[in-house]
Symmetry: C2
């Protein structure tokens, strides 16, 4: 008999007991400490460590509702999905996700590598740290996890088994509402628009029926296009980073969806980082260093994704039609259109919707924040409406810089 024979939501003291009883990584009788270290919207994250040995693990538990709000009742099955996806990620993109030591179905928790020497990338970016290897790391992660789980590579019957295994109705519904719908019509009254931009938003977003039509098209794509096992929430808050290493975490939104959902999130969140630097760094040299890195990384992410995708395609493809001339380029072009569309959606949902990002909300000066939001949103309009024309990193960067030029500093 163990107190962990049936599910309950743990407190730090319970987690210490759990680590002693269930986790095979500490010396018998070791003194352990535990703290809840999570600040995400969904789950509870505990760090357990042995002060003497410096051994430590992270234990992530899913509650019956989202951490941020009891209004989101969620199946704890998301924790199984997360653990399995991390283990799969370790296979497909070695070193780019944390190691999972144990998954406990009863307690809906998983025990994994402690990344305390890493920082959440979004926080580092707000402090204007730069990560020269990030583009390389994240494009390897994306190409490997996306292309290798698609029908291009995977046996089609196995892939359908994976689609079934990772159907994720509840978390997909959150995305369908918060990313694909509410930013454009506020139909649940949950949007949270920065007041000085309200009139601009009414005119340029809520007043734009053509924009809603494009958002609708993208939404149907998200709901129906079972293309690859995507991460589903790949923003800079889901990435642990240090200069020499990048680890993608938090795949509980994973399901078979459009590849562009992951790539588009990376693009948009690099743009938020750029916008923050552009708005808050008074010193021109500091601004040039940080924004230059962000711009270069944006370009590299798209271009290296393209290059690695087209290189990996012939190496890994098993689908008999994949070798037909033009199929790879057609397939990639579709991913790139989705990338642009999703980058635009992510921009609007983070600026207008329920879940903001600190890159924008931490811009203290009102005029600077107004401008930063409009630069992002105007680029976002083009990403969504003209998504078929975005093919290279330069296409994305030019749109961003042109939007910035059209909004002169006050």
């Amino acid at each position: 008999m163990s107190k962990f024979d049936s599910y309950f939501l743990m407190q730090p003291a319970d987690v210490v007991d759990y680590a002693r009883e269930k986790v095979d990584r500490f010396a018998a009788g070791a003194r352990l400490e535990c703290a809840e270290i999570g600040d995400g919207n969904i789950n509870y994250i505990f760090r357990v460590w042995e002060p003497q040995s410096e051994h430590s693990v992270v234990i992530k538990q899913a509650g019956p509702t989202a951490r941020i709000s009891d209004a989101f009742v969620l199946s704890t099955d998301r924790n199984r999905i997360e653990a399995e996806i991390l283990m799969l990620g370790q296979l497909l993109a070695p070193g780019l996700v944390p190691q999972v030591y144990k998954y406990d179905e009863v307690m809906s928790c998983c025990v994994m590598e402690d990344l305390s020497d890493y920082v959440i990338m979004r926080r580092a970016l707000i402090e204007h740290k730069t990560f020269p290897l990030f583009a390389d790391h994240i494009t390897t992660f994306m190409v490997n996890t996306l292309l290798l789980t698609s029908d291009v590579v995977l046996d089609h019957q196995k892939k359908k088994g994976m689609v079934k295994r990772y159907i994720n109705p509840e978390l997909c519904e959150i995305t369908e509402d918060l990313v694909y719908t509410e930013p454009f019509n506020d139909y649940k009254g949950r949007n949270d628009v920065f007041a000085p931009n309200l009139e601009w938003v009414r005119q340029h977003v809520y007043g734009d029926a053509a924009l809603r039509l494009e958002a609708a098209k993208l939404k149907f794509g998200f709901m129906t296009h079972a293309q690859a096992l995507i991460h589903g929430d790949l923003h800079t808050g889901s990435i642990f980073i240090k200069p020499e290493s990048t680890k993608v975490i938090d795949p509980e939104f994973a399901f078979y969806g459009p590849m562009g959902y992951d790539t588009g999130n990376i693009v948009a969140n690099l743009i938020f980082a750029w916008a923050n630097g552009d708005a808050t760094l008074g010193d021109p040299l500091e601004r040039e260093v940080f924004c230059g890195w962000a711009a270069k990384t944006l370009v590299e992410v798209v271009d290296q994704f393209n290059q690695k995708f087209l290189t990996a395609w012939p190496l890994h493809a098993t689908e008999v039609f994949a070798r037909e001339p033009g199929v790879d380029r057609w397939y990639l072009d579709n991913v790139l259109s989705d990338t642009a569309g999703v980058a635009g959606l992510e921009i609007f949902r983070r600026i207008l919707g329920l879940a903001h990002v600190k890159d924008i909300t931490s811009i203290a000066d009102e005029g600077a924040r107004v401008r930063a939001e409009r630069i992002c949103m105007q680029a976002g309009l083009q990403f969504i409406k003209q998504r078929a024309r975005f093919r290279t990193g330069a296409d994305f960067l030019q749109t961003l810089l042109r939007s910035a030029a059209e909004h002169p500093r006050l």
Copy 2:
């Protein structure tokens, strides 16, 4: 204890015992007779009847391999899918599918309405019978089963549960190979081309890299586009018909796929009927009556589908974006492009592939068959390559008639 406590493949004598023991539709001690009446590729179909009362049922059992060839090893789970889909069809499109009395998971069989007073539509069409109500019936069936199981109408979480429940890897793979791939590259050496057309096929089909590129695009759509719970094998051999009634049978290929797969199959199979009449009816009046009906029905199927789809959309849609102007038309246009693409694929696979149709193979005169096949295939080339331009019934018919005009009778 019953001999039906564990699975075995039944013979007619077993089916009589089964009907006595398990089917609650005959008087106790009734004398029953049974015959295997199936001629499909996949399953075993038994008719059981009581000569005195004229009561009868049909019992359909799934074997561990396809009836046509032991090379296709199939999960008997397809019988569950079929029984459930028929029951769902009765709800969504009342009267347009046979009633299911019982589904037996152990024996992988289902007991259903006997439609012996109906005929298989393909056979009737080869005898040049006409069915003036068919377009109305089949468009109601398609609009109701397709639109009402899509994200337009169904709660998105429920729909994902349905996607999961009806994942159908084995039967989808048959379609992926036989319909989407082999006709265009014969990569398994299973194609069966009518010898006098072999050179034409080498030149116009196997020699056409652009055609394979388009087939590849459509194939990825079939594998990834979880749009609606489609029938998956909706040709005229899957339809029981009499003048006043139409019943769609054999949904064991059902899964969440593109709507256009069903509509395109109907279009192609009406074209086969037309081509048969055009090739075999010597009497101009008889030809005009039958081919005129086939042509009119082709047009009506597309146009009534469009009209009913756009009428049903605002009545049933629950997706919040579905009411945005233009979404219905955009969505329908995509279905119509897929319809054209699939109509073309079905033409090639039935003329070049492993599974021919009698409409074509029963054309006894060699020259007439050569011509009929080329008329169909040339239309098929345009359906596939120019699929975005097919919007109305007239668009389809004009392409067929133009192709016919370019192949004068010898």
